[in-house]
Symmetry: C2
Subunit: 302 residues, 2 copies
């Protein structure tokens, strides 16, 4: 590695440390409690998109590597009202996605959830978190940002909101990149159709097949920042959604027994640390945002 | 769950959040940078004791779940001089160990490493960390500790040191529990024989087959707190140690190519968050120290 490349990596790692520090600082001040990540469980996020499962024999029983902590977050809210976890996720995306510069097969998600929260409240948490992180990094890492050639603009809240339908009409199918490239400040996409999201995303009672969820999209072509929404939490609704998605309920039997005992209503999101670091540092590829990056399909990477 | 049990769990989770906050506060003040955990890699800590491997197919290649970040920490020190990670580890210990109250098959380790450090310096970091955590938790969680019936005594540094040989003479083989029960303050065990530890633990140049490593033992029977030491870092010595341990060097080919390029000398340790929480809260079993605890052999736990 050239000394310039080493200096860039050192700067990125320093900025990432500040990002994580600032994020926790904000969440602590907002009354969140950190819970430990779960990386192995008989249940994990089924995820609509086509990732390969990471399966491990746990004393002879097939356990899954965590794709997101969503199901565990809902269960944890039975005990605590506001939680977050710094949660390693494994999502073995198809190898051809590596060239897009924003996928890692192993990444870390700051995953949070709030009991009885509405989507609007969680959008407020997301804006507060991003603004706090950007402000603190700009204050604490001016030399690093300058060497990285990155001028950070602190956006103003509330961020613009656009519906999935509007975004698709304007930018076509799979609009994330085109929308992101058109933006000069982060913006929310809201109201995804049921068919593109998961069984736990809450349907809008007023509009069939529209979900009360949202993505945050970075500006300047950096793509998706976070994904979240309100959650389904009652047994009849969750069973109906599993059926609509054609998912065998036996796969989620342990989860369903918690649902039967009672899950609180909630909303939350997960924000990828490496993507946030890529955006803050203005990096070409998310692989540059961490040590030991594993791009999809990159066998041999440690 | 009874309301008393729920209150206890809430208190434990609140204390654990403070433990993690205080630990990071201390490490930040000491100039450490947080790096993201690695949970999947072709290489991980081989560990002497008899755990089952967590093996996952990573795009068709067998990857291991992290047992500790030791090898990645050594490699990361090529870029940064003082690092730590909040690192989930999977160690599928034999199921009969569950009854001992201090094993989890999935747990989180605060794993740190310092370039060019001696064991004495790292012992200082360990004492500073534990004292900072105990002091802060006592200040910030008095109501939780009182409800848990735990009176925290803040020990004085430096902690007592005892050699492996002395400990074994006094308490017999597998002395951790007996030694721990005899203590009223944490104490270090130093100078383990080569045969009971790993290839990366540095041999004392002055005493063949004695390692420059250490464990911290909690008082009151809570057992082992942390494990660490100085590291081997040159190719000829590491190859010799692999050979002595009868480990096929092909298993560590990716690691050895980094060693060949050059690893810095270092020392460090890993401290288990759930065991620290158990000790701070005075819990009977480490399973009470987190949500979603997976005891060895406990199939079905989410």
């Amino acid at each position: 590695m050239s000394s310039l490349a080493v200096q860039q990596l050192v700067d990125v790692l320093k900025v990432k440390d500040e990002i994580m520090h600032a994020a926790r600082e904000y969440l602590r001040q907002e009354g969140f409690i950190e819970i430990l990540p779960v990386i192995l469980s008989p249940i994990t996020d089924p995820l609509h998109h086509d990732t390969f499962d990471g399966t491990v024999s746990f004393y002879g029983s097939p356990y899954q590597l965590t794709k997101s902590m969503i199901l565990h977050k809902q269960i944890a809210l039975r005990t605590l009202p506001r939680i977050y976890s710094v949660s390693p996720n494994v999502r073995m995306e198809p190898a051809e996605r590596a060239s897009l510069g924003r996928y890692l097969a192993e990444f870390v998600q700051l995953d949070l959830e709030v009991r009885d929260a509405s989507r609007d409240e969680i959008i407020g948490v997301g804006e507060g978190l991003v603004l706090h992180v950007l402000t603190r990094v700009a204050e604490r890492c001016p030399a690093e940002l300058e060497r990285l050639g990155r001028e950070l603009t602190i956006p103003e809240a509330p961020f613009k909101r656009v519906s999935f339908q509007e975004a698709q009409e304007q930018f076509g199918k799979g609009f994330d990149d085109a929308l992101s490239s058109s933006l000069s400040a982060p913006a929310w996409v809201i109201d995804f159709p049921r068919s593109v999201r998961e069984f736990y995303d809450r349907e809008d009672p007023a509009r069939t097949d529209i979900l009360l969820d949202m993505d945050l999209i970075y500006p300047e072509g950096y793509g998706e920042a976070l994904s979240g929404g309100e959650r389904e939490h009652t047994l009849p609704r969750i069973l109906r959604r599993l059926e609509k998605d054609g998912i065998d309920k036996e796969r989620f039997s342990q989860y369903l027994s918690f649902v039967e005992e009672g899950l609180p209503a909630s909303a939350g999101f997960g924000i990828g640390i490496e993507r946030l670091t890529r955006f803050v540092c203005g990096l070409e590829d998310v692989e540059q945002a961490r040590l030991f990056a594993k791009a999809p399909g990159k066998v041999g990477a440690i």
